[in-house]
Subunit: 229 residues, 2 copies
């Protein structure tokens, strides 16, 4: 692995961690000094980050961490609603018993963590969920689809996304996983695709909901409407 590769991962991690906040500039010389490298590999890493959409290059002025707007989030979900169902549509006739067992294991571990419900558990669920989706993408066996999703999903949102789920929504998400596994084990791509579509739309709804207080999260508007009825 070259130095440029390492720098790429380091900067990416720092963006995700919020160490490089949105809108801030990433200076070649600064990072170079810090990592005891010349500007060359840093330049190369920044170029890759630009083409992956993590930072934007302002000519002769620097590389700035991109700021995500509400519209960006909507665009991404719109594409995920198309692409992620296609992942499982392809995966259904291709997936093997071994991978299904892995998915089953991941689902089980997520459910166990879901029962606890504390913040640390939710973080861990997010990680397992990423692995779950990665397994599905691998089963789909389409390098281009994989690459598209990698460049699109860009966990800056989904990193903390599970924290926006209500307990019911989190539970529903676990149900989706189970149903996906059932559909895939039967080789029913359209069933799996439908579940995945619902899965993504649910995530979208949680994400686009105005940042709710805990109060609102436990007693969302639609439920209040139900109670009044």
């Amino acid at each position: 692995m070259t130095a440029a590769d390492r720098v790429y991962q380091i900067i990416k991690k720092r963006i995700l961690d919020g160490q490089y906040p949105a809108g801030s500039y990433v200076r070649e010389a600064t990072i170079g000094q810090e990592l005891a490298l010349s500007r060359t590999p840093i330049r190369e890493a920044l170029r890759r980050l630009v083409s992956d959409g993590w930072v934007e290059a302002i000519p002769h002025h620097g590389a700035r961490v991109v700021a995500w707007t509400q519209r960006d989030v909507e665009e991404v979900f719109e594409l995920r609603v198309l692409l992620e169902p296609q992942v499982v549509r392809r995966a259904a006739p291709r997936i093997g018993a071994e991978r299904l067992a892995t998915l089953d294991d991941l689902a089980e571990r997520m459910e166990a963590l879901c029962e606890r419900g504390d913040d640390a558990s939710v973080d861990e669920i997010a990680q397992l969920n990423n692995r779950f989706h990665a397994e599905l993408v691998a089963a789909a066996d389409s390098p281009r689809l994989q690459r598209l999703l990698e460049t699109i999903v860009q966990i800056p949102v989904s990193r903390r996304s599970f924290h926006r789920y209500t307990r019911d929504e989190l539970h529903g998400s676990m149900q989706h996983h189970r149903e996906l596994i059932r559909a895939l084990s039967l080789g029913d791509g359209e069933w799996a695709a439908s579940v995945m579509r619902a899965h993504i739309l649910a995530a979208r709804a949680a994400q686009l909901r105005p940042a709710a207080s805990d109060e609102e999260a436990r007693e969302p508007a639609f439920r209040r409407r139900l109670h009044r009825a």
Copy 2:
């Protein structure tokens, strides 16, 4: 525009022209000498081409022009069938009269060229067709969707693709354009999406058909079946 940008376009053009054939290596020093530039901007251009999927980087060994397999073509069509309908689905409620007029003009010019049917006209149709699709993508007003399609479609195939169309198929393609314009002018996104889906699937069928002799192209298998029946 920087030197690296120019090099990027030059190399890309040469790959499309077949000047750099698939599987051949693009040497940094060679191009540098030829363009009287140092390796630095060439390196940068090659990295962009790698991330755009035109060449693949073999660590410490060079950048090789990617070779397209049948499977690659199928993968691309599978994604286009998803993404291009989404383009017009979005475009329908957003497109303005001016752009519709442009599309109409392009369709008309393509039809006129279609009547002639010689090789040069087919080449020109291909260019106009690219502009037609570019207008649609612009109307969709989704930078991410635009970028995805740009990295996916990569005219290495579709460059000569129209030459694989039979006269009937070419005519059908023109019909699709007209129907798209009608649907878009009525703001009917689902209609437009359906037409586009058919449009892409037709292109796929023509593309995946085993390379036909002129004989085969004029008298394809399905037509022979019709005659026997």
